[in-house]
């Protein structure tokens, strides 16, 4: 039953925003059915895909996610009647925007997984994890965070006598 534990050079962080009624239950089913899927995924439970703001996805990328999965009920199955229909349009637009800004859309996956589809959940998560693993770490947003912390310091470091103490230099080089 157990898959061979493989050593990978890179373990991607996948953040999954899921709806509590379908996908969360589906993931739960996968668990209670003892299905194996990559442990790279961090599941965050929301009332509905309609509650998932594009800001959450941005924030996930900024804070170190290499891939993001958004998953909810199939169209027509929404507990709140139309939440996933609205989400579908919003994410279609958001995808176009991210693409225009230059984010690789292969890192962002949307899916419909119902409470009965434990197998599909495993499939979606595995596929996304393997794809992101092959792509390597998501550096774009992370490098922005890095820059904002150190760009000012870096600029000053070249100015003699400003912050060029040996201790600071050493601390900087360690980073």
């Amino acid at each position: 039953m157990h898959a061979e534990a493989k050593q990978h050079d890179f373990e991607p962080k996948i953040v999954a925003f899921v709806c509590t009624w379908c996908t969360y239950a589906g993931a739960d089913l996968a668990g209670t059915s003892r299905m194996q899927y990559p442990a790279n995924v961090r599941v965050l439970k929301f009332p509905c895909t309609g509650r998932i703001d594009p800001v959450f996805i941005l924030r996930a990328f900024q804070k170190g996610a290499d891939g993001v999965l958004v998953s909810g009920c199939h169209p027509g199955d929404c507990h709140y009647m139309a939440g996933n229909f609205h989400a579908r349009r919003r994410f279609a637009a958001f995808r176009a925007l991210l693409d225009f800004v230059g984010v690789d859309l292969h890192r962002l996956q949307f899916s419909w997984v119902s409470a009965a589809e434990g197998g599909k959940w495993v499939e979606v998560v595995t596929e996304l994890t393997e794809r992101v693993r092959a792509m390597g770490p998501m550096l774009e947003f992370k490098s922005l965070e890095h820059e904002e912390q150190w760009s000012a310091f870096q600029a000053l470091a070249d100015v003699p006598g400003v912050v060029n103490t040996p201790e600071l230099k050493e601390a900087y080089d360690k980073i």
């Binding site: 594009p54 941005l58 924030r59 229909f85 349009r89 637009a93 225009f100 230059g102 947003f141 922005l144």
Partner: protein, 314 residues
């Protein structure tokens, strides 16, 4: 409207046209203020320097005699009618001078129940274009110094106004710089697109002028000002800037009327209207929706169809 006038190879608009529009606006404004149709009127007065204009609230017929319309009348005045500005007039119907692009913002605000049509008296301008950034104010408007949005304006002839000043001006045949720029960026490889926007966003100083000037940014508390939990970092650093501009474009998707005020006021010259236009284009393609052509109760992102495209969803 009358026959098409003033087509000088689509390049230069006669200054006399603006004088005629000015005269029409004055006459109409004086009339509605005298009759008491409106309690006040938002229009343009001459600025202190020659060849400039400033927005002003007019309440007397005497002041209305000073109203102007010139290529320097760049502002979108509909922003003064939104909740975020707490309304310039406490009571009474209000008049407003609006170019075609401003009319789109008005239509959008009406659709979002921010203003009521019956509270407005719209003096629309059959606009022949306004100055772009850095234009020498003593020159006439030519293709070289016209605002970029005017190069591909589709709303020269405003519809649904109470009064239209001026008569049809044909502006066809101008080079659509923005559309070309958008096509250029879209054709770039993904990494270069990211580099392009990163360079622009990292210059942002988060002065929030783009938000302040936008007729659709009327939220009393902006999501991006919130902390606990903080959605978007508020200091001007690259990560927060990128998030802010993405969120801004997303919140304006399907609503932005394309007045390009955000881009005009940006002190760092970030091409914000490109993002807005990209979203407008996408929503036009996906849902056949164009913002601001007429007041619509629901925008493309607040409604749905059961058979919407979901090819991107597994």
């Amino acid at each position: 409207m009358n026959a098409k006038a003033n087509k000088n190879q689509g390049s230069c608009i006669e200054p006399s046209y603006y004088q005629a529009v000015t005269k029409a606006i004055r006459t109409q404004a004086v009339q509605i203020l005298k009759e008491g149709t409106v309690a006040g009127l938002v229009g343009y007065l001459p600025g202190r320097r020659k060849g400039t204009a400033r927005p002003a609230l007019i309440t007397t017929p005497e002041e209305a005699e000073k109203l102007i319309f010139s290529p320097a009348c760049v502002n979108n005045l509909s922003v003064y009618l939104t909740k975020s500005k707490k309304g310039v007039l406490k009571q009474g119907r209000i008049g407003i001078v609006a170019k075609g692009c401003d009319m789109r913002a008005l239509a959008g605000l009406m659709g979002e129940s921010q203003i009521k049509r019956e509270d407005l008296f719209i003096i629309a301008v059959d606009c022949a274009g306004v100055y772009g950034s850095g234009a020498e104010r003593s020159e006439t408007v030519t293709e070289a110094n016209i605002a970029r949005k005017c190069l591909e304006c589709s709303v020269h002839h405003p519809e649904g106004a109470d009064f239209v000043a001026g008569s049809a001006t044909d502006l066809s045949g101008l080079t659509p710089l923005e559309a070309e720029e958008m096509a250029r960026i879209e054709a770039l490889p993904q990494a270069e697109r990211w580099a392009f926007w990163k360079e622009h966003f990292s210059r942002c100083i988060r002065c929030m002028a783009c938000r302040q000037v936008c007729p659709f940014c009327y939220c009393e508390q902006c999501l991006c000002d919130k902390n606990r939990p903080q959605a978007v970092e508020s200091s001007p650093r690259p990560a927060g800037n990128t998030a802010w501009h993405i969120v801004r474009a997303m919140h304006l998707a399907g609503r932005c009327g394309g007045c390009a005020e955000c881009e005009r006021v940006c002190p760092m010259d970030i091409p914000l209207n490109l993002l807005n236009r990209r979203m407008a284009k996408e929503l036009k393609e996906l849902y056949d929706y164009e913002a601001g052509l007429a007041p619509a109760e629901k925008g493309p992102l607040t409604q749905y169809r059961e058979d919407d495209d979901q090819s991107f969803i597994k």
